[in-house]
């Protein structure tokens, strides 16, 4: 396993090099900000036609993880689709690819700010998920504790290498974006430095999940 193990509010979690979170005890896999259908949304709005492979690529990587870990529950932490129309416009091949994944296990779509009402593609939809001791929601609540969230697409720079990363402190974990066409927000951005405690870690994604002190 290429992950980094850590405790959060008593739960033993693993940050995977792929950017997904694994909760072994619950057999729960969590990914954030898939942004499926991003290229479709872009051209729909009069922009250029990006290579339309990001949905396939994101789903292939997700399917690989599921095949290895065999989770009982998959949680998509919001912004799973680039917008509502993008979820409706998903090509048939990718719809069935997704449908196959959501079968035979519990699948939860958490609402994001891009896709407040996830489409009817199987699975349950909820605003937040409480699974003691943790709470899963899209955007971090500064007052919360034991919280897993996404939204910010954090990335961090070490040795002139910039990579998507998890951010972790005593109260919360923020996941990197799992989608193929996603950018990142530097960990030094005030939005993140004000949210995370002083001794926070950034866990870099890559061949090996690498913890470093969060660059501020």
């Amino acid at each position: 396993m290429t992950g980094y193990d850590f405790p959060l509010a008593g739960a033993r979690l693993t940050a995977l090099g792929s950017g997904a979170l694994w909760w072994a005890e619950q057999r729960l896999l969590c990914v954030s900000d898939l942004h499926l259908g991003k290229s479709e949304r872009r051209i729909r709005r009069g922009g250029s036609a990006l290579p339309p492979y990001e949905t396939r690529d994101t789903l292939v990587r997700l399917a690989e993880l599921i095949a290895i870990l065999q989770p009982d529950t998959v949680v998509c932490l919001g912004d799973s689709f680039d917008d509502d129309a993008a979820s409706r416009a998903l090509p048939d091949a990718e719809k069935s690819q997704l449908a196959a994944l959501t079968q035979n296990r519990r699948w939860i779509w958490i609402a994001g700010n891009h896709d407040p009402a996830p489409a009817d593609l199987g699975g349950e939809q909820m605003a937040e998920l409480h699974l003691a001791p943790l709470t899963f929601r899209h955007i971090a609540d500064p007052a919360a504790a034991a919280e897993i969230s996404g939204h910010y697409h954090p990335k961090a720079r070490v040795r002139s290498t910039s990579r998507p990363c998890f951010l972790l402190d005593q109260s919360r974990l923020i996941l990197p974006a799992f989608g193929t066409y996603t950018g990142g927000l530097r960990s030094s951005d005030p939005a993140l430095t004000s949210l995370m405690q002083r001794d926070a870690l950034a866990i870099l994604t890559g061949a090996q999940a690498l913890p470093v002190p969060m660059p501020r």
Binding site: S39, E40, P52, Y53, A191, P211
Partner: protein
């Protein structure tokens, strides 16, 4: 108004006579050919070239009967357009000709631009980008109605770039709107006038070439200094006192640099040594427009004794009485050197005076070689190959902005541009498909095409609002992302210029850097602007401007290798000749027909140095290819650095047999395979994808809050490589790899020259010729197994230092 040679109207003749000026023979020749469909004038700088281009226009417009636009003048520089407006308006007003002249560039206010489209002047002075934008409007036909002549200034510079390709496609468009349009090109001295003529003319029209008297040979030499140049680097700080003496001894001196950063540093040092407080200015493309204009105005008024500058002053702006040109750093390219030298003695039929200042020891050799090439009038040039298709894609989008078009007609029009004469219909159709649907192997988004084919067969934009996005992203100039620098506090913050975003990202509060000749302190980044305060006295960090990094030309490299064959070097300064002799003693000097590789331990790492003499970009690529191969062979390379003549690689293992590394097939495979992950290739892709309209650098309202909105173009590249490797943009990227940044063509050339003849020299320590490379900046780390290992070590160290590894797990 006629298409035959117009006699010069009396008023104009008299104006010349009143000044005691005679019309030059080449100016007469241009008048005689006024009716020809295409004429190319080749004249040295200051030979009255621009006037030669405009005389036929003035003659045709003198009777005041022409309605609307008559002549379009296109220059590569905004400043040049403004300068010509000034220089042309003066005689027109003095003679009393009924001619309206105006300029139109990115700096022109929107209200004036709008007026120009509705009511164009007789003569419009503009740039390739502004012209392309003009042709993208629905009312283009009305704007250009009556257009007779187009004058392309400095066409030798445009013909080397995608800006020129874009311009020629725009001219093909104009030619359709105005079938009688006549073309004139004005060029500095070039190696192959015929190639420029073919580039300018409507294919397959003929193009007359008029050669002006080249004037007396220039007086050019190397600057003698007390101190020897340093071993490496590009600052030439050692030459400051000698340059200062030269400034004092001349009326006005232009001091050219190859990069903006070097110009800044040199200016800073010159200013510190300027005890007499002589008026000296600085001018380069990263400075704020207001600052540049102030320097230009002072220059025109003759108030400056010297101006430190870069390529932004390369082209023919009339700066008044320059009597000395100094080139700091090796010129890299003989043609450009000759053009720069021509800037001295602009108005006199006297030899131009120029001094070369090598920035380091190796450049002494290169300057010597360049001097000889100038003396023998041996200019360098390389054929450019067919017109790039990313520019073609952009032009298709521009055509769509102007209104529905017929694909067959557009194809026929584009192949009238010389660079695209060989374009096949399937190639064109692939570009059209790319613009319409993205052209992906996976047929997606049927209902959301960018271009739609209408029932009548014509193509149009699906969403008319797309026109705004396309216009916002028009152009082929690929500057690194720049962000503005402003002074804090002073009335809204005085703008100073721009720096690269990547440079700004390395700054932390308190850091100092040079811009516009002053040292400033970084205070913070606010709304995509770097805020600084003045901070005199403190030693600055250096601003890293992109600027162009020219590679030494093939011809100049060949001359250097030829010089190395000499038994001794009486023409070189003692310090440099001694250095070469020492190299010959402990190792050997590189030869044209052989590839010399030195291998030696240094600083507890193994090193190899490959003297390919293929130019900076190709040597850089060679470094990437060799280290990739070394990684595969378990030689654990750690990094490399490249100059115009060699690549130095360091790693953990000694290389005992370099032949397998340099096998041509292996290198070519490397280029293909290494397409996978390399940053240089991704940059080439990024350029092509931006020009072709896939990546939009500017979107309405998006620039302000860039967070999360944008993702790296590298991801698009990786995605295409994985799912659609034969996509048009991947094909264009591979084509780009043969030139420019990757420059694999020069590696091929080197392999052809050396044909597998490799000399490996195992040395006990670093050689005299290799030593300067260790001092070079721009070392490239190898992101291989060694890097991953080091990253893990670094992460562990950071955790230890911060005590975070002690936290309970």
């Amino acid at each position: 108004m006629s298409d035959t040679a117009p006699a010069l109207p009396e008023a104009i003749e008299n104006w010349f006579a009143a000044r005691g000026w005679t019309i030059h023979p080449h100016q007469h020749a241009m008048l005689e050919r006024a009716g020809a469909p295409c004429t190319l004038l080749i004249a040295p700088t200051g030979g009255g070239k621009t006037m030669a281009g405009f005389l036929p226009t003035l003659a045709e417009l003198a009777d005041g009967t022409h309605d609307g636009l008559h002549t379009l003048y296109i220059s590569p520089l905004k400043a040049l357009a403004a300068d010509i407006k000034r220089n042309l308006r003066a005689p027109v007003e003095e003679i009393g000709l009924p001619i309206r002249i105006d300029d139109r560039t990115g700096d022109t206010p929107a209200s004036r631009k709008k007026r120009q489209r509705a009511d164009p002047p007789h003569i419009l002075l503009t740039t390739p980008e502004s012209l392309a934008l003009l042709t993208s409007y629905e009312d283009a036909a009305r704007t250009f109605k009556g257009l007779r002549r187009v004058v392309v200034d400095e066409i030798h510079a445009l013909a080397e770039s995608k800006r020129g390709d874009q311009l020629m496609l725009a001219l093909a468009r104009l030619q359709t709107l105005c079938p009688d349009l006549r073309r004139v090109g004005l060029s500095a001295t070039v190696d192959d006038p015929q190639a420029i003529a073919g580039y300018l003319a409507r294919h397959p029209d003929p193009c007359d070439i008029v050669l002006a008297d080249p004037g007396p040979a220039p007086d050019i030499r190397m600057l003698e200094t007390e101190a020897a140049p340093p071993w490496a680097g590009g600052g030439a700080a050692y030459a400051i006192p000698a340059v200062m003496e030269q400034i004092k001894a001349h009326r006005t001196t232009l001091i050219f640099h190859n990069t903006r950063a070097q110009a800044e540093i040199f200016f800073h040092n010159l200013w510190l040594a300027n005890e007499d407080a002589l008026p000296i200015g600085i001018h380069h493309g990263s400075l704020d427009r207001v600052q540049r204009e102030r320097v230009e105005a002072a220059m025109v008024r003759g108030e400056l004794r010297a101006i430190v500058c870069t390529g932004s002053l390369d082209l023919g702006i009339d700066w008044g009485d320059v009597d000395l040109v100094i080139q700091i750093g090796a010129p890299k390219n003989v043609k450009r050197l000759v053009q720069r030298i021509g800037r001295a003695n602009h108005r006199y039929n006297a030899p131009s005076k120029a001094l070369l200042v090598p920035a380091n020891r190796f450049e002494v050799v290169e300057c010597r070689a360049a001097l000889e090439a100038v003396r023998e009038n041996d200019l360098d040039g390389a054929p450019r190959g067919p017109g790039p298709r990313d520019v073609l894609c952009q032009h298709i989008l521009i055509a769509a902005c102007a209104g529905p078009f017929d694909a067959g007609e557009l194809y026929a029009e584009m192949t009238q541009a010389g660079a695209y004469a060989g374009l096949t219909r399937p190639e064109f159709d692939a570009c059209l498909t790319f613009c319409a649907t993205g052209g992906y192997a996976l047929k997606a988004y049927d209902q959301w095409q960018r271009l739609l084919q209408r029932p009548d067969g014509k193509w149009q934009l699906r969403d008319p609002r797309a026109a705004q996005r396309i216009r916002m992203n028009l152009g082929t100039i690929q500057d690194a992302d720049l962000i503005k620098v402003r002074l804090m506090r002073s009335r809204g913050g005085k703008p100073l210029g721009e720096v690269e975003e990547a440079f700004a990202a390395t700054l932390t509060t308190g850091d100092t850097f040079l811009i516009g000749g002053q040292t400033v302190r970084y205070e913070g980044l606010r709304e995509m602007t770097v805020e600084v305060t003045r901070n005199p006295g403190k030693k600055p960090k250096i601003a890293v401007f992109s600027g162009s990094k020219f590679a030494t030309s093939t011809q100049l490299s060949a001359r250097i290798l030829a010089m190395f064959k000499q038994d001794s070097w009486p023409a070189l300064p003692r310090h440099t000749a001694d250095w070469l002799e020492l190299q010959r003693e402990v190792s050997e000097l590189p030869r044209a027909g052989r590839l010399l590789i030195e291998s030696f331990p240094h600083d507890s790492r193994e090193h190899i140095c490959a003297y390919g003499f293929a130019g900076r970009n190709a040597q850089q690529t060679l470094g990437l290819l060799l280290t990739k191969r070394m990684e595969e062979l378990g030689l654990d390379p750690l990094g490399f650095v490249a100059t115009d003549y060699a690549t130095l690689i360091w790693g953990l293992e000694e290389v005992t047999d370099p032949a397998p590394l340099l096998d041509p097939e292996t290198l070519r495979d490397g280029l293909e395979g290494w397409l996978a992950g390399n940053a240089v290739m991704k940059r080439a892709f990024r350029g092509a994808a931006t020009i072709a309209g896939l990546i939009e650098r500017n979107t309405p309202g998006a620039r302000k809050n860039g967070r999360q909105a944008t993702f790296s173009s590298d991801i698009l590249y990786d995605t295409l490589r994985k799912y659609d490797p034969d996509h048009l943009l991947m094909d264009i990227t591979r084509e780009e790899a043969l030139r420019g940044l990757v420059d694999f063509g020069r590696i091929e050339e080197m392999l052809e020259r050396t044909r597998g003849r490799i000399t490996l020299r195992r040395l006990e320590r670093i050689s005299p010729l290799a030593a300067p490379l260790l001092l070079e900046v721009g070392k490239v780390p190898v992101k291989g197994a060694a890097e991953e290992k080091l990253l893990q070590q670094e992460a562990a160290a950071l955790m230890r230092q911060s005590g975070l590894d002690q936290l309970p797990q």
